[in-house]
């Protein structure tokens, strides 16, 4: 079962329905214990980073996510859920992320419109097993005012909005996407399908 972390934020019905559309069973999990038997974990999030971070930590999900990561359970972060994979965000400097990736999340600047809302092309800058069906230049639906600034070499795709921004970050067993795959039509469904069919052991690498 794919667990969608439900910490009270965002349009989770759409994420669940998108997985259903690709033939995968995904359920909303509103307590950390529910992640124990998950075969994969989706970390969603929309809106304000601080609000997301507070609710996520208040409900005790951080240790459960770390534990899932240790076990090699595939994890997909979406939008603010992707940003939560980092150390923190300048949107709410006092609120911590998970720190799976080093770096912060900073406000979009040098652009006429913030947030970026709409479809934009993603440039593939690296490989990842769950990106096997994502072609260079595929369009995805973005809604964001901030973008991650990874310290390490984890960017797997960029989007040009007043300069190249991190659109996809990833490494073994972990992927974060700034866009909304559940709202990106066929391109998004293909990505979710690849994630849903990921082999947990293969994804983990070190888990074997």
């Amino acid at each position: 079962m794919i667990a969608i972390v439900d910490y009270g934020v965002g349009n989770l019905a759409s994420v669940r329905k998108a997985f259903a559309a690709v033939g995968a069973r995904a359920e909303l999990v509103d307590a950390p214990a529910g992640l124990g038997d998950a075969t994969a974990v989706v970390l969603p999030g929309v809106g304000n980073f601080g609000h997301c971070s507070r609710e996520f930590h208040r409900r005790g999900f951080a240790p459960a996510l770390r534990e899932a990561r240790e076990r090699g359970v595939p994890i997909l972060g979406i939008c603010v859920g992707m940003q939560l994979l980092f150390d923190g965000s300048e949107e709410d400097a006092g609120e911590p992320g998970l720190g799976f990736y080093r770096g912060s999340v900073t406000k979009l600047s040098g652009v006429p419109r913030v947030p970026q809302i709409g479809w934009n092309a993603v440039r593939r800058t690296g490989d990842h097993p769950w990106l096997r069906d994502v072609a260079d230049g595929d369009h995805f639906y973005f809604v964001h005012s901030y973008a991650a600034q990874p310290v390490d070499d984890v960017v797997r795709g960029t989007v040009d909005y007043g300069g190249d921004r991190a659109a996809i970050v990833g490494s073994d067993g972990l992927l974060g996407v700034q866009f909304h795959p559940e709202k990106s039509g066929a391109n998004g469904l293909r990505l979710l399908r690849a994630f849903a069919t990921a082999d947990a052991r293969v994804a983990a690498g070190r888990g074997r």
Binding site: N11, A13, V114, Y141, E182
Partner: protein, 257 residues
């Protein structure tokens, strides 16, 4: 490059699409999910459902509509029409809608915008404005364009964005149904005054109207109803015309298989 968005609008009453002049001479035009699916296949970037149900059943039908659309469509959609409370907005969003559009109720109580934005985020909060020209400016009208408020459109858009509106859906009452093209002057005035995306609406009758919209204003999206319903223009053909004019749009997607 961020693509300009093409947004078909569906007027819905009692769970069915209706067509005709916005509030008069309405005829049944089918199931909203079926029509929405067709637009999705044609390449619509987003959809707006404007619910004009007047019955006591309205709350249930509009939430049900959001859920039914979200079952089968995986592009963003907005539900608007008579949304007067943050509670109803929340039910619609939990059903699977991405955004709610508030109009008359927000004019009467601007706190509604901040309340929806606080609970669900600015990205889910769309301010819909019906604008009517008065002298050399535009005034906000409510109740489907019938009631002038005396409020300046540009000032109201700016105020609403400060309160948390994440997008402005700007409808020209003067152009609505006229086939004279978008009101470029109005659109430019609002799009240059706010920092959030602006969706222009009202008057589109051809691909050329869209080309002019995107060439001559900073609008991010163009919304239309009748040209897509029975105006003989498909979203796909419109996008081809925009591409030929050098305007960035989302290309046709590879079918999911």
């Amino acid at each position: 490059m961020l693509a300009k968005r093409i947004i078909p609008c569906l007027d819905v009453r009692d769970g069915r699409v209706v067509k005709g002049t916005r509030f008069e001479d309405l005829r049944d035009a089918g199931d909203p999910v079926e029509l929405a699916t067709r637009y999705d296949r044609e390449g619509a970037d987003e959809l707006v459902f404007l619910d004009i149900t007047a019955s006591a059943e309205r709350r249930r039908t509009v939430v049900d509509l959001a859920a039914r659309v979200a079952d089968v469509l995986f592009i963003p959609f907005t539900v608007g029409g008579g949304i007067s409370s943050a509670e109803l907005a929340g039910e619609i969003l939990r059903g699977g809608a991405d955004k709610v559009a508030v109009n008359s109720a927000a004019v009467r109580d601007p706190g509604l915008i901040s309340e929806i934005a606080r609970r669900h985020g600015s990205q889910a909060t769309v301010l819909s404005i019906d604008a009517k020209r008065e002298g050399d400016a535009w005034t906000v009208v409510v109740d489907g364009g019938r009631t002038p408020t005396g409020r300046d459109v540009v000032a109201w858009a700016t105020d609403a964005v400060a309160r948390g509106a994440g997008e402005v859906l700007l409808n020209s009452i003067d152009r609505d149904g006229t086939k004279l093209g978008f009101d470029l002057e109005l659109t430019a005035a609002v799009a240059d005054a706010v920092t959030v995306p602006v969706i222009a609406s009202g008057g589109a009758a051809s691909a050329q109207d869209y080309v002019e919209l995107f060439r001559r204003t900073h609008a991010d999206a163009g919304l239309a109803a009748s040209i897509f319903h029975y105006g003989g223009l498909s979203v796909g053909d419109l996008k081809d015309a925009l591409t030929a004019s050098g305007i960035a749009v989302r290309p046709p997607e590879r079918a999911f298989a």
